[in-house]
Symmetry: C2
Subunit: 225 residues, 2 copies
């Protein structure tokens, strides 16, 4: 499963992400992701932390998702680093223990891959800020499973809704639910005038085939996403 | 300045850190820090995140320190990664914007050294979990200053109280205040029977000269601190 919360939350979250500039859409001047992909979208949900009312809205919505989808959750785990702040806020609101997980173990021995206390069979929900291919979340999930956790699922602020992520979560037998996704974002962006109607097709083309899209674009800007 | 909050908070925090095992004292079987130092103490404040009532106590005490010591603070900054969770909780409680700072910029361009929104002259208070030599906090402070921030000071959960940290903060003209420190911890540990009175001198010797202490100790255990 790889779903969104509900339409109201999806639209409100998308509206707010656009409003604070956490998401930028530039179909004519694509960003270049570090993976090498060209992309008409740049998403930095960490900027939401600088906006207390939006940050609180996201905390509340993530907490509602955890409570509704995973009523047996015992521990909240944030994926380092971007999932840590919201993960801690969700754990605080729900009065639950918090741990955080690095996608990869550090080599220099100063840091554990999992920080905080985790016991065998603990029921864990993972908080992530952003799902693209899903690989960073799944690395964290695998680290938790290896440590004996019973991982119930992943809750995220935003997902691109890539088929690759859907497949990866299905293969892992893991539920993943986000507050909003790329399709809702494009709809809201169009309604609010962030993009013009002629750009919608090109934006959907990208989501369907992000690896190939825009191969002929010139001079893309390096982006952090 | 490099001070502690007040005696009540210092004692309560120290008691709780010992109780949940976030601090371990082993004067007879020292830990080996990654710096190479042998140490009779191992401190992992991240374990407090797994204890909601202690986590909440620390959040409240850190927030009180920020409000009392830095009433003009506008932004809370957590030092990655251990300062991020409590930093976010403090920002949440105070209703202030939150950013986080890495001690060093990553080379691969996927991450900024400062995540979140920071404007020129913003008045920032830095949240840190642990002060040893102070160098990781000061790296974060310098990154913030370089970005134009007005850094008011550093608030931490625990400090070893090393002279080196005191000097570094004085040189930087920066106030640093912690909830508790090594001396209070040793006092509480002695009162509560975590150590025997004969070990107190050896524990104070270490703090006075951590780099040389225990050079003749055998088979120390590798530790994460």
């Amino acid at each position: 499963m790889h779903t969104i919360s509900n339409l109201d939350t999806a639209k409100t979250t998308a509206t707010q992400l656009l409003q604070v500039g956490a998401v930028q859409l530039r179909p004519l001047q694509p960003f270049k992701w570090t993976s090498g992909w060209l992309s008409p979208i740049y998403c930095d949900n960490r900027l939401t932390l600088s906006h207390p009312s939006l940050r609180t809205y996201i905390k509340q919505q993530l907490s509602t998702l955890v409570r509704d989808q995973f009523p047996h959750a015992q521990i909240i785990a944030g994926v380092a680093t971007a999932g840590i702040p919201q993960g801690a806020l969700v754990a605080d609101l729900l009065g639950m223990p918090f741990i955080y997980v690095r996608s990869e173990a550090k080599g220099h021995g100063m840091e554990n891959q999992i920080e905080g206390r985790l016991n065998q069979h603990d029921k864990v929900v993972v908080i992530e800020d952003l799902i693209s291919t899903g690989s960073s979340s799944l690395k964290a999930v695998n680290a938790l499973k290896k440590a004996g956790a019973n991982v119930l699922g992943v809750v995220a602020v935003f997902t691109y809704g890539f088929d690759k992520a859907t497949e990866s979560f299905r293969e892992a037998g893991l539920a993943c639910c986000a507050l909003t996704d790329y399709n809702n974002l494009i709809n809201v962006a169009s309604e609010k005038g962030y993009i013009v109607p002629e750009q919608i097709d090109t934006l959907h083309d990208w989501r369907a085939n992000p690896g190939q899209w825009g191969a002929e674009q010139q001079s893309p800007e390096e982006a952090n996403s």
